[in-house]
Symmetry: C2
């Protein structure tokens, strides 16, 4: 069965985010002073093949821990995992 | 009022994603052959000050169109917009 997973990877709260700060400052220069902070993360969309939703979930967590996420400074959340019909795939 | 918005910025379907391909190939080297494709996007968390939820939403869309999103190759989705209690802020 085909599945599609959406994973959000964000920096831990305690970690400085210079990219986010730069975006915020750019917005302030554009007179959007109502913006108080911006933090930038990654959004990863994974298409995979697995025998069950359970296995698919396990596989996504494994890839996150082993490759996608640097757990020293980042956290991740599996936002969605849904089967894809063969027609769509 | 303080609001927090979550925006997901992704490449359009028709646009090649070399970063995603690299991640997929790395996963294949690690024997995760069930992974069929990976696409990488951005996740932006914005904290802002606005008089109403409607104004907050308008502001987020404006910042997306004017700075955060390159609409030639990317699309974005406002995933969530919620008020933040003063205690949390």
């Amino acid at each position: 069965m085909k599945f599609k997973a959406a994973v959000v990877v964000t920096l831990k709260e305690s970690v400085l985010d210079p990219q986010g700060v730069t975006i915020k400052e750019a917005l302030h220069h554009m007179r959007y002073n109502q913006i108080e902070s911006v933090r930038l993360g990654k959004f990863v969309e994974i298409s995979l093949d697995a025998s069950s939703a359970e296995n698919a979930e396990k596989l996504v967590h494994e890839t996150c821990r082993k490759l996608l996420v640097n757990q020293v400074i980042e956290t991740y959340k599996l936002q969605a995992l849904s089967p894809v019909s063969q027609k769509e795939a």
